[in-house]
Symmetry: C2
Subunit: 235 residues, 2 copies
DNA sequence: ACCTGAACACCGTTCAAGT
DNA sequence: ACCTGAACACCGTTCAAGT
């Protein structure tokens, strides 16, 4: 508001502009990495609706337009977020695990990243980025090695991954939904329906609670079903 | 701008405002029903991103703000769209169909509405509206009648519906995606990844094509797995 | 009761300009 | 090479005003 010149001499010791930098924390220089990191944090904390270029810039102590020097568009940013999050997948199984153990681990790892980043999970309808499609290839290979014919290896993988995607998308959607939001917020579900759902939920109170158990039941059922299929196609 | 009184007499015969009404087709009066109908059509044709209050108003030959006389918010509008589309579900099975046939029909009907309205399907992470949650109850009852213990009836239903949701959301997402959009449009998938995917797709060319077959394989596997479970819990 | 126009506080992105 | 400010063409929604 007062003097604005003398920008390039730094003889004054009190201020070098570093500290006067507005609410955001602009200390290190901007980079794709730093932007994605901040974006994931913002979405984790405030949800996808809260992510705008302006808001993200602010978070990084920078003008919105500066982001475009490192990221071509918001769409690319979203894709980068998905990529970053899915690359956290880390299925654990021993070297001599059978196909069921391997696929169980793979699907479990996928669910875990969903639970770790529930508000990011909605992005998963995009084509899978590198890390995830690498995982897909591995799993299909596992199925193939286990004796599934080529076509069935693909279909069996689709079957498992469809189940997990569906399960986790319901799970994360409910995790993110506080009851208040249900009736008036983003969703605007009519009130009588909220009541009806409440009733249905009370009815199965303890039941609906245990997502882990529900997840495993479905996963094991699918694995059992696929095992039947595998045996049937063994010569 | 000129005279503004004489509002309640209607002696002028030339114009009653009906024909001077701007590009849109404002013939019948506005109503929630008419709005939802236009909204579904707009989303079916142009996608969810194209649906804005202003655009929808224009489609109906009316100012955006007029919509708020019949619909409380855009969120409510979206929910209405989902409701309307999901109410099209119509599973067909004979009166003496067993649980597998019933569930197969139920899940098939769900997939069909997804295929009929691929661009609407993304809304399905919202809590299910009346028609769909009625269907859910029916299916859980079927499972219960077939001998599944109460808890397993719920979980088995979740398992099936999770599979279908996951499958159809991948299916509709790919249906909606033209290759051009992949690399530059909304998705902004990096080019080398597009190539990699192309390669993977070519590898399984004829395979990936047949979604119907893939869907049935997974569904039957799940049903088989659940049948094993059911038999196991029959005393 | 229903429709409108102007306004508010936002968006993503382009572009010319600064350093 | 990277950052900025102003501008453009949009958003959803409030509110006072018209009929």
């Amino acid at each position: 508001m007062t003097v604005t010149n003398m920008s390039q001499n730094q003889d004054s010791d009190q201020y070098d502009g570093r500290f006067a930098m507005s609410p955001g924390r602009q200390t290190r220089t901007l980079s794709r990495e730093r932007i994605l990191q901040a974006a994931v944090r913002l979405v984790d904390e405030q949800g996808l609706e809260a992510l705008s270029m302006r808001r993200l810039g602010q978070e990084l102590g920078v003008q919105a337009m500066s982001l475009y020097n490192h990221v071509p568009s918001k769409a690319a940013l979203l894709y980068g977020i998905l990529e970053r999050v899915l690359s956290e997948m880390n299925p654990l199984y021993g070297p001599d695990a059978d196909w069921r153990e391997r696929l169980r681990a793979g699907m479990g790892a996928f669910r875990q990243v969903g639970l770790a980043h529930p508000r990011v999970f909605a992005l998963n309808t995009r084509p899978w980025p590198g890390a995830a499609s690498q995982r897909a290839k591995e799993d299909m290979q596992t199925l193939s090695d286990a004796g599934f014919p080529p076509k069935q290896s693909v279909f069996a993988f689709y079957a498992l991954v469809s189940y997990v995607v569906g399960f986790v998308s319901r799970e994360t959607a409910t995790l993110m939904r506080d009851p208040a939001e249900l009736s008036e917020g983003l969703l605007a579900v009519p009130l009588e329906l909220v009541a009806a759902r409440q009733e249905l939920h009370d009815k199965f109170a303890s039941v609906a609670a245990d997502n882990d158990e529900a997840f495993e039941l479905g996963l094991e059922a699918m694995l059992d079903g696929l095992e039947l299929l595998r045996r049937r196609s063994e010569t």
